[in-house]
Amino acid sequence: MPVAAGLVGTALPAFGVLPAIGGRTLSLDAWRALFEQPGVLTSIRLSLQVGVLATVLSLAVAVAFCALLAERAALRRLSAWIAPMLATPHVAVAVGFAFLIAPSGWLVRLLSPEVTGWERPPAGLVTLRDHAGFAMVAGLLLKEVPYLALMTLAALNQVPHRALRMTTAALGYRDATAWIKAVLPLVYPQLRLPIFAVLAFSVSTVEVALILAPGNPPPLAVLAARWFADYDLQRYFPAAAAALLQLLIVVALLGAWLVGERAVAWLGTAWCERGGRGGAAEVIVRVGAGLGVATFAAGVAALVLMLLWSFADSWRFPAAWPDRLSVDNWMVQGPRVTGVVANTASLAFCTALAALLLSIACLESESRRDHPPTRRAMWLAYAPLLVPQIAFLYGFQVVLVQLAVDGRWLAVAWSHFVFVLPYVFLSLADPWRALDVRYPRSAAALGAPPWQTLVRVRMPMLARPIGVAFAIGFAVSVGQYLPTLFAGAGRIATLTTEAVTLSAGADRRILGVYTFLQAALPLLVYLAAIVAPALAFRHRRGMA
């Protein structure tokens, strides 16, 4: 509903209708202004390039990683380490990644001056904000590869993958080839929605682009965000047109992906039917899995660098380690940061809790009436994740302004809630439905009324998934940039909005403080969500 209202609110000004600032007639002026903007075609091309490349690469790397390792016990343990990466907001990962790869970043420092001979940061080297958007693609991979890998592992539980592995091996197939030919096609339908979410996000993200993408011309979504924030109100019209165009691009890409799927399926069938037992494919898969490991390593390095910068007293180029460590940055930033952390945490806590309660209510009523939601309902739940934020947030803001609630804490919380709810619901739905129905039924047979069955049987048994769903919701709220900016009307600062603002060139030590906190906050909640049920049930082996 908020999405639909927001879309209408964006679509009207795109065609010249916004009575509040004088637009009263339908016209195409906004579109003309958009396409007269120098470099707008470059912006569109950049968005497409980054989005498609990031999606295809992250899927390929995630698949290669799972193909090689899905059947090994080591990966099961590793996946516990992947999950925290998901809790880390995009902005923190992007900033940390910039610390890593910038011309004055840690990788160059590591090689300087011994290997490169550089005594000062190389001026001609462009590793960030490059015109092709490669830095942004790489930065997106850090988050999306673990996400898709984890989704693949989760989907594996629903296919007889062990038996399939034995069957294919008995037919003479090597592990990775067998996995791609026999297991992946069964898993893929469950990956489609997550892939779409990755595609939609990569094409239309503003916050990651502000940190890693070129600024002039920027990707289309950044252009729209810039115009929306312009003092010249007439800029609203082309901004709305750009936002609407962003939506059309995402819809077109999702359609193209579905067509591409058909082509790949056809080629894949022919590949399966040739009967190859695995030669070149094994090598390619190993390269891909190597890239997967590299992205995890880069992700961890990014987090460590944030922490290091936040404690650096001075850290001159080309030293690979800070000259001196101190807590000064934290002491100086402390008072200001405390308020920002309070904003961030209160928003995240309340929206995640509300989303959790609503999700439990929905799932409970679903299990009481014993009918699973339709496919269409599932797509509706995913809508806020697929529609580009820039495309409806402006319209959403117009509604908030008319209700005179913009810039209030409640307005920001409501805008976060729109994005938190689908993630919480989707994360809780599978374990909820997987719970053996005979448990609640035997509770009922023992005379427990429905609410007692819920509180005393279902919820304790699902303590861990409930905790994880809350942690995911918390992390999603912490990571929100555009909703905070639009609904908060710039008056409510969170760690994310501060980090994005500071990334435009402020002191890395201060930036380190903000981004590290931004990463640490969701991680702490995630940790608590896993540890608390484990502690509570430490004498119950059946709950492991």
Binding site: L164, L171, R174, C272, E273, G275
Partner: protein
Amino acid sequence: MTVASGAQPLRLADVRIALPGRVLIDGLSFTVEAGRIVTVMGPSGSGKSALLSWIGGFLGPPFAVHGDVFLGTRSLNGAAPHARRVGILFQDDLLFPHLSVAGNLLFGLPPAIGGRRERLEAVGRALDEAGLAGFGARDPATLSGGQRARVALLRTLLAQPQALLLDEPFGKLDAALRADFRRFVFDFAQRACLPTVLVTHDAADAEATGGPVIELG
């Protein structure tokens, strides 16, 4: 169906399979001649399925295994499962739902065999012999249980294994189909001259093989 076969015996020597604190099988040795079927029987938990998994190369922790397994003179100890050339048939047919019947069989056929047309012909001949002529384009999900079981056997044999392991493959079929499919499997295994190990808990299966029976547990 043409199945290349080295016609070699499968030999197990002094096999011991144990779980922590419990020995399942100890000092087990036997030889299966090419074209013969040896039946392994025993209650569940006696280690009969673990034995098959071990021959196929799939048994890992917590099982601890000592002993040797040979195909002819070739030792299978420590070989990767895909390199053993040992076919397995399970209780579930495990046909790939994303491929057609012919696609499943082509998946089994080694890549060394011919171009697309020759491969399709080889698959067509196999379907003919199994009484499934014209089923190639069908979706496996539209086949009956007995038909699916036969396709699964064809897929295993088209991969040209040198030995065949049957892990209760008749368990899910009803009585009438069971005898029928059993005859079918034994015929094909014998014609292909494969040493075959059958694991079952049904005495009628063992009787039908006409071969030796090893009791576990």
